[in-house]
Symmetry: C2
């Protein structure tokens, strides 16, 4: 067993403190999303294989965990089911399954594990939690704005104070190519290079653009304007083209609708690109100091639900990189999230055990967290060490003498102070002291 006792490669066991930390974070995000009227959705861990294949490109398909057929078909070595790879394809399948039985627009969030047979690495897992929210069936810019605001509130609820939402628009990107005279056939590759401006030096990006076939002057102009602190020059350029004006209008509407966000929280970022064959409208990406890469992203993808096998409905949404956030924030944050016993009951006299369990029941009935010593030692020191290990606030001592006299000793585990109480009053006293 020694070698195989570890959980499978790329997966994790979550022991108590980590479960608490994660569930606490999940609850914060759920709370934020619920306040926007997004509804929870839970789908099965696996889908029919054909629902998943062909949706993630060749590279993605290779990472799908496939489930072998069962019974007499097992020997075929074929798969008929597969673990879900993301939460978006199941959403499209659900929209196809339930159709107009769903409220329209359908605003749902999903927070649950997905599985990818990626090479495991630091911060990269084969089982990890995704956190998505989407609005299917609305073309309203309010839906895009609400996505941003809900993501903003979700991140804030996770305790992230300093972050920046960069927004752009697919239309604005096309306008950019028009305005700077980038030849049509180079457009896609140029945008991919420009997206690197947040990582590479402007010169390096300009060089890459030239390598890709762009004229040196155009490359230099594009890079200079997109690297500038303010967006005035880019705005002026966009204003000179039809698609650019449409994109600017989209961006400015979104900025107006999210005007209640703190100053500097959201900014038009014309160099930001994101998946070109995915998004059709506004796009966004969230970055924060101390985090490599983005901690949230999303946009409008009106063709996606149909392309994933669902009905042809407009949609927009976003995703919080909850695993990235959880992995960055120290476990120490979890210490004060509801662990430790309120009351530890020591076991010093067998005849007193029914009375002890009765006391435990009364305290639990009042919502306290009560543990009882289950070890083999009759020694009080050893049992108090256990109480201490359990981070108990109070320990109850009920030995033969105390039991005969109908009293208990209550020990404050912080101060070491002890007091004797009639056993009939112990529950009331502890409820008051430990219940606060």
């Amino acid at each position: 067993m020694a070698q195989t006792a570890e959980p499978p490669s790329g997966t994790r066991d979550f022991l108590a403190a980590e479960v608490r930390r994660r569930e606490h974070a999940f609850a914060q995000v759920r709370g934020a999303f619920e306040r926007y009227g997004f509804e929870p959705l839970q789908t099965p861990a696996f889908e029919r294989l054909e629902v998943l294949t062909g949706k993630y490109g060749d590279e993605g398909d290779k990472l799908i965990f496939k489930i072998l057929r069962r019974g007499e078909h097992e020997a075929s070595g074929e798969a008929d089911l597969a673990l879900r790879y993301d939460l978006t394809v199941p959403l499209a399948r659900v929209v196809a399954t339930y159709g107009n039985r769903l409220p329209m627009p359908y605003k749902r969030y999903a927070l649950g594990p997905v599985w990818r047979a990626d090479r495991p690495g630091r911060g990269r897992f084969r089982e990890f939690t995704q956190c998505d929210l989407d609005t299917v069936g609305s073309t309203s810019p309010l839906a895009d704005a609400e996505t941003l605001l809900a993501i903003n509130d979700g991140l804030t609820a996770l305790g992230i104070e300093d972050f920046r939402i960069e927004i752009n628009s697919r239309q604005a990107l096309y306008g950019l190519l028009d305005a700077y005279g980038v030849p049509e056939q180079l457009g896609g590759r140029v945008l991919i290079s420009l997206d690197k401006l947040d990582k590479l030096a402007p010169d390096a990006v300009a060089a890459e653009l030239v390598e890709r076939g762009l004229g040196a002057d155009i490359a230099a102009g594009l890079v200079a304007d997109l690297s500038a602190e303010d967006t005035d020059r880019v705005r002026k350029q966009l204003d000179g083209t039809e698609r650019g004006r449409a994109g600017l209008a989209e961006v400015d509407r979104l900025l107006a609708l999210t005007g209640s966000l703190p100053p500097g929280r959201i900014a038009f970022t014309p160099r930001m690109v994101r998946g070109l064959d995915y998004y059709t409208g506004p796009i966004f990406e969230v970055s924060a100091p101390g985090f490599a890469g983005s901690i949230a992203s999303g946009g409008r993808y009106d063709g996606l639900v149909a392309s994933l096998g669902g009905p042809d409905l407009p949609a927009c949404g976003g995703s919080i990189g909850i695993e990235r956030i959880l992995s960055q924030r120290g476990v120490e944050d979890a210490e004060d999230i509801g662990a430790g016993l309120d009351v530890a009951l020591t076991v010093l006299a067998e005849e007193a055990e029914p009375a002890l369990l009765r006391l435990a029941g009364e305290l639990r009935g009042a919502g306290l967290r009560v543990g009882i010593y289950l070890g083999a030692s009759g020694k009080i020191a050893k049992q108090l060490k256990w109480a201490n290990d359990q981070r108990a606030r109070y320990a109850v001592l009920l030995g033969p003498r105390e039991f005969a006299e109908n009293v208990v000793t209550v020990r404050d585990m912080g101060s070491g102070e002890q007091r004797q109480l009639p056993i009939t009053e112990a529950a009331a006293w502890l409820r008051t002291e430990a219940g606060s």
Copy 2:
């Protein structure tokens, strides 16, 4: 897509109301277990195949969902991973993995999906949630008692008021065979037949015993005594054998320790058997009117962790049949569990949208659930219908005239009553009215 849009056979999508109902039930059980100091544990959805195979018998092995190897190995048609079949084998694996880094005794609960390739049927799913609690590393009868009490509290927290915990002991079962002179080699089969006394008529069971080779007199005596309302005769018989006395002592200790339970809640049930090659000490089963079969069960299984590949540690635990309970209780229970909007914002004037979203932000900041109309209609009647469908308590109307005058109209969706408020006072008013 039409044919494949359903979730895979035996699995379910949970839409909002059902997620709320289930999560609410899960939270109740978790709360009960937490009050006993049980700690949450979450393990991966899949384990290495060799961790699972051979643990569930031939029939069980056939029901394991196996995951195909990936990349160049996929063509081999072999599996190397498998979806977890229960929560007990992962527990044994975790105890093996973490050893003495776990608190000992290790008291953990687990509540999560497991997967079995069973033939799907009414109330039988291929993905379903199990709810286990176990104490590993303690031989104390207090651990057995706490298991019963925690299961009792879990069921109570689920709103089940009328249920009965039947307890017995492996020792008492052996004592029974000794006392009635059942030949050693018939023991196992006799017990399996006796276990049917809660379903079959006494005569039918007696006939089955004779068929299995037991003398007619012994069969008749056993069946008569075990069918009796009270346990006096069985107790007297058990008292005449060594194993019977040990079993009775075990049962009576447990009855004394759980004396705080309501009268009639727990009873010694000498005919109750349960998995013979699994349990080693006290066993229990919980039944309730309106439920076919048991709604909870468990016992002590000191050899189990070692037999599943973990270290040789004593253990006891129990399991609540949470899916059975959820499937029996109507969805109507869920209606009042936190769905519906507190405030629905209609969208009647584009120039007012930023102000609307600002108002939404203030209300959400106060914890209210606020939705905003995302449809295409500008008609107030249609938007109010939407608000009504969302079961909103209040709707906010902010048309061009109202916006120009810096007021909003607030409509009580229950009474239809409307009032006009300055826009700057709307948030405070709604916080007070809808926040209660």
